[in-house]
Every structure is written in structure tokens, then in C-alpha cells.
């Protein structure tokens, strides 16, 4: 957002761009790819959602039947809820922890490269590696975590087998995996805060907490909105972690299955591609509604109009 704000300011200045004619050929490769792999599937999927499909064949037009079925499908609502629950559970720690880590590194502890490497390295791992490491740590009999829980006198936890816990396990794994990205975003915008502000605060006699509260955090507002927005959008698309952790299953009593997995199962395991498409569009609408609502919520504070 900060970058965008600068860009907008630069391009809306007095400079009237004297542009060269016909750049159309430059857009054509992009348009072809966009048409083939984005626009065509959007249209095709919409058409599919009004039909009954098997894997290869076409069972014909069924109108809104798929949508009607989806709205009455308890599994769809349950998996949609899992997706939203995961988003709520993961976004807060992924924003807050990233901020805390970035602040700690920013205040100037030597060995910057080491801290950055520690927090960002997991982000570079393929999801399958991350899940393999954590299913090993989460193993209920000989796993590292349960072993140490028992050593300090606590009970074992069925990290991947208990209904109430499994989703949290996925959140822990995801926070560990991806927090480094948000951490870097925060770190770079912390470094962009002008020293002058702190020096002025110093002159006014502000201590650490006061500077943090009145200088640092307000300066990070735009970044926080950006990080949180990206995080909500990313978390809504959750699929890989659960799918790999439970070998394509649904977790204990189906408690971790996100809606994308239900869509996948419906389309590719049960071969009901029309129905899967209908649910995709319902999910798409939900994503749009949540994103717009989230933007509205983060915008409604008074100081947002001058930065966007």
C-alpha cells in the first residue's frame, strides 16, 4: 500500500504522459494466456455449474439445480465454516507474531541475517516438506511435542486425531511456515519510518512504550492493513496442508476439510463436476463478500482516507 500510494502520487503529478502509439501487440501474449487459463475456465465453469457432468460425458442442462442442492448441503456449509474458522484462527497470530518478530529484529539486535533466516527459511519449504516435518513432530506416541509435554507432566495431545485440536495443529503448522513473509513486510516498513519521528518523540520525553504506541504503530497502519488483507485472502484458499496431512482424507470426523477440498472431492473423486463448479461459484461469492467487508472494516477508521 505504501508503494502504491507513492506511485499514485508520482503518476498523478503535473506530468502528462506523452505515450507512444499502439502497444496492443505487447498485450496480446498476456491476453491469450489470460483467455485460455482464466477467462475461458471462468465462463466454462459457469456453464458447467448449470449442468450435470460425469468425468468425460455431459449429462445435460439442469438449470439452478446444482445451486439449490449446494445451499441445502450440510457438508458444503460445514466445510465452508472450516475454511472461515481457519482464516479467523490463522490471521491473528500471523499478523501479531510477524509484527512482534519484526519489532524485535528492528530494534537492533546484532546478527540480523541470522534472525531473518530463522523466521523466513520455513517459507521457502514446499508444503509437502512442511507437512511431513510436522506430522512427525505431532506423532502422538513418539512425536517430539508429546514427548516433551509428558516430560513436563502434561497429558499427550492427539494433534492430528482429536476433533477439537486438529484444526489448531494446521494453524500452528501454517503460522510456522508462513509468518516469515509477513515478518519481512513488517521489517521493511519499519525500516522506512524516518528517524526524525523518533528523535522528535525523544525530545518530548517519550519512553519506549510511548514511542511504540504513538510513533511506530501508527506508521505501520498501512502495512498492517496490507498484511492482514493478503493473509485473509490466502487463508481462505486453504487446501494443501489438510489434504497432505490427512492423505486426502478429511481429518478426525471431517473436522479439518476445507471447502476447496470438498470441491476437489466432488469433482475429481465423485466425478460430479457440475456440482463442484456450482460450489466453486458460491465459494467465490463468499470470498468477494468477505474481502469487501474486510476492506470496508479496515477502511472505516478516520485516518485511512488520506493514505488510499
Amino acid at each position: 500500500m505504501t508503494v502504491n500510494a507513492v506511485n499514485v502520487a508520482a503518476s498523478s503529478g503535473s506530468r502528462t504522459a506523452r505515450r507512444l502509439g499502439s502497444g496492443l501487440p505487447f498485450v496480446i501474449p498476456f491476453l491469450i494466456v489470460a483467455f485460455l487459463f482464466l477467462i475461458a475456465p471462468i465462463v466454462y465453469g459457469l456453464w458447467l455449474s448449470f449442468t450435470e457432468q460425469s468425468l468425460m460425458g455431459n449429462g445435460g442442462w439442469v438449470g439452478l439445480a446444482n445451486y439449490a442442492e449446494a445451499l441445502g448441503d450440510a457438508t458444503m456449509w460445514a466445510t465452508l465454516w472450516h475454511t472461515i474458522a481457519f482464516t479467523l484462527m490463522s490471521t491473528v497470530p500471523l499478523v501479531v507474531l510477524a509484527l512482534v518478530m519484526a519489532l524485535l529484529v528492528y530494534i537492533g539486535i546484532p546478527g540480523q541475517w541470522f534472525w531473518r533466516l530463522s523466521f523466513f527459511a520455513p517459507y521457502l519449504l514446499p508444503v509437502a516438506v512442511v507437512v511431513q516435518i510436522w506430522t512427525w513432530l505431532f506423532n502422538s506416541d513418539v512425536g517430539f511435542i508429546n514427548y516433551w509435554l509428558q516430560q513436563i507432566g502434561l497429558d499427550r495431545v492427539g494433534w492430528l486425531t482429536e476433533v477439537d485440536v486438529a484444526m489448531w495443529s494446521m494453524v500452528i503448522l501454517t503460522v510456522w511456515w508462513t509468518v516469515g513473509f509477513n515478518f519481512l513486510l513488517y521489517l521493511s516498513s519499519l525500516q522506512a519510518i524516518p528517524d526524525l519521528l523518533y528523535e522528535a518523540a525523544e525530545v518530548d520525553g517519550a519512553g519506549f512504550w510511548r514511542k511504540l504506541w504513538s510513533v511506530t504503530l501508527p506508521q505501520l497502519r498501512a502495512t498492517t492493513v496490507l498484511v492482514a488483507t493478503l493473509q485473509v485472502i490466502a487463508s481462505l484458499k486453504i487446501f494443501d496442508q489438510m489434504f497432505i496431512a490427512f492423505n486426502g482424507g478429511s481429518g478426525p470426523e471431517g473436522s479439518t476439510r476445507p471447502i476447496l477440498q470438498y470441491i476437489y472431492d466432488t469433482g475429481f473423486t465423485n466425478y460430479r463436476m457440475g456440482y463442484a463448479s456450482a460450489m466453486s461459484y458460491i465459494f467465490f461469492i463468499v470470498i468477494i463478500v468477505i474481502t469487501v467487508a474486510f476492506r470496508f472494516l479496515t477502511r472505516s477508521r478516520k485516518d485511512v482516507d488520506n493514505e488510499l
Binding site: 502497444g23 505487447f26 519449504l125 514446499p126 507437512v131 511431513q132 506430522t135 487446501f239 463442484a276
Partner: protein, 310 residues
């Protein structure tokens, strides 16, 4: 001429030293700004940070440790960092002999490189056209591009797969690669960056009679190297780690990418943890090396684009 060549390495070293000294001074100044001179605060901050780093590294270290144990050692209690029988390279030998991890790694490298090259080229071209040229329908197409940013590709798996069946692209590299090259966000990022390139640079070349292609290639691209690097890094990491689409489009183990192949290993071998950790460690290596080598560029890339892959 000759004196220059002798002086340069020396002065380079000196600049590097000066850089390091400056960075250290910078860190000290930043610390002063927020924490003041209090030593206690510095120690507390260090301890919290060390605890975080420890927590973040521990899973990796334990996985690495496990990969050097036999299966029995790995699953016996009490847990030991150094097993009684000593460490073994057996798991790595088995993984090497089976060789599939290396096939997958090669596939992933091919796929990620192709995706990166194609994405960067078509997105930069489109970004240039939207930023610095005029043509009929430019505004409408730009609006379309921005609208497409909002479409999450994951909801399109079903129609996209059916389309691939029609195009005979299931279980082919083309089928894995091409659908990943569509990135409206990257077009927008390029456009935003190109918008900032000063008009004067372009004017001078235009007086010399340069056309769009020359302008793009010899004026705009060279001054936009940071954003090209940033986008390339992100597209590469995104494609390297992408799971869902390669998983859906490939069945043939010889075509699988690393994330997909590794997820099938888990299915096939169930509880062979030590060996699984060995293949995980090998799979983790390439991007980790890449990160160590390009740490600064990657960090700058995060800062400038503010975005991950797809």
C-alpha cells in the same frame, strides 16, 4: 587504465568494510531510537528474540536430526538427540538409490524456470503497454486485468482440468506449466513500476526514432531491473512450491513436481519417518541455498512487491 585495475579490488574491499561499519552504526542508532541506552531492555529483547528463533529452528533441527537415525532409533523412547548407535547415512543412501526425489527436483526446476520466464516476459510486456503506450481498448483491458486479480485460481480447477482434457494436456509439462503463467497481479505490479520511470529517459530515445520495442528493451527494462528480479523471485518460489495444480494435472510419477511427489511418498511408505525426513531435507535444500545466496534481493523483493506467488 592500469592503475585503475590495481586499485579497484582494494577499494572494493574498503567499500565493503565501510558498508559493514555503516550497517553496524545504523543498527546501534536504531536501537538507541527505540530502546534508549538501557542495557536491561536490550538483554530482554535479545532473550525473547532468541526464544522465537529457537522455536522456529527447532522443527528443522529435529527433522534434520531424525534423518540421520535408523527407523528404530527414531521411534524409540526416550527421545535422544544423539542416538545410542550413532548417526547413520542409511536414509540418505536409500533416498539417493531410489532417485525419485532427484527426478522430482529436476521436474520442479524445469517447471518453475519455465513458469518464471514466461510469466515475467508476458507480464512485463503487458505492463509496459498499459503504462506507456496508447491503443484502442487500453483502459477497458486494464480494468479487466485488475478485475482478474480478484479471481482465485483455485476455484477454477474443475473447468481448467476439463479444458486440459480437451487439449490433451493432462500429464504433460505443458499442462503443468502454462496455466501457472497467468498472473494479472504481476502485470499490475509492472505497470505501477513502469509508471515511475521518468519521461525524459523515453523522450531522448524517441527523438532518435526508437519504436516501442526498442524503448521497452533498451530503456524501460534496464532501469526496471529491481522489479524484474522481485517478480521473478516470487513467481519462482510460488511455482517451486505450488501443490494443487501440479497435483491435479499429473498422475505419472516421472512428471511429478517435488511437492506432489513428496506427498505421495508419505502415502506409500506411511510411518517411515527417518527416511521421510531425509527426503524432506534434500527437498528443502535448493531454495534454502538460493535464499542464503540472494537473501538481500529476496528481502527487497518482498518489500517492493509486497506479495507472494499466485
Amino acid at each position: 587504465m592500469s592503475s585503475e585495475t590495481i586499485v579497484q579490488p582494494l577499494s572494493l574491499r574498503r567499500t565493503r568494510q565501510r558498508d559493514r561499519a555503516e550497517r553496524r552504526a545504523e543498527i546501534r542508532r536504531t536501537r538507541g531510537l527505540l530502546l534508549g541506552d538501557s542495557k536491561a531492555a536490550r538483554v530482554i529483547a535479545f532473550l525473547i528474540l532468541a526464544l522465537f528463533a529457537f522455536t522456529w529452528l527447532l522443527p528443522l533441527i529435529w527433522a534434520l536430526d531424525t534423518s540421520f537415525k535408523t527407523e528404530v532409533q527414531a521411534q524409540s523412547l526416550p527421545l535422544q538427540w544423539i542416538p545410542d548407535g550413532g548417526f547413520t547415512l542409511e536414509n540418505y543412501r536409500t533416498v539417493f538409490e531410489r532417485g525419485e526425489v532427484f527426478t522430482w527436483m529436476g521436474n520442479t526446476f524445469l517447471v518453475a524456470t519455465a513458469v518464471t520466464v514466461i510469466t515475467v516476459i508476458i507480464s512485463a510486456l503487458a505492463g509496459y503497454a498499459f503504462s506507456r503506450t496508447i491503443f484502442r481498448g487500453r483502459r477497458a483491458l486494464l480494468a479487466l486485468t485488475i478485475a482478474l486479480i480478484m479471481v482465485p485460481g483455485q476455484i477454477l480447477i474443475v473447468p481448467l482440468f476439463k479444458e486440459m482434457v480437451l487439449l490433451n494436456a493432462v500429464d504433460t509439462f505443458v499442462g503443468v506449466i502454462l496455466p501457472q503463467t497467468i498472473a494479472p497481479m504481476m502485470v499490475f505490479i509492472f505497470k505501477q513500476y513502469f509508471d515511475q520511470v521518468p519521461q525524459e529517459l523515453e523522450d531522448a530515445a524517441r527523438v532518435d526514432g526508437a519504436g516501442n520495442w526498442r524503448l521497452f528493451w533498451s530503456i524501460i527494462l534496464p532501469v526496471s531491473r529491481p522489479i524484474v528480479t522481485a517478480v521473478a523471485i516470487f513467481v519462482f518460489i510460488g511455482a517451486w512450491n505450488n501443490f494443487m495444480w501440479p497435483f491435479i494435472i499429473t498422475n505419472n510419477p516421472d512428471l511429478m513436481t517435488l511437492p506432489v511427489g513428496l506427498s505421495t511418498v508419505k502415502n506409500a511408505y506411511g510411518t517411515i519417518y527417518a527416511q521421510t525426513m531425509a527426503s524432506a531435507m534434500i527437498a528443502a535444500l535448493p531454495l534454502t541455498i538460493l535464499f542464503m545466496a540472494f537473501q538481500r534481493q529476496i528481502i527487497k523483493a518482498v518489500a517492493t512487491t509486497g506479495l507472494g506467488g499466485q
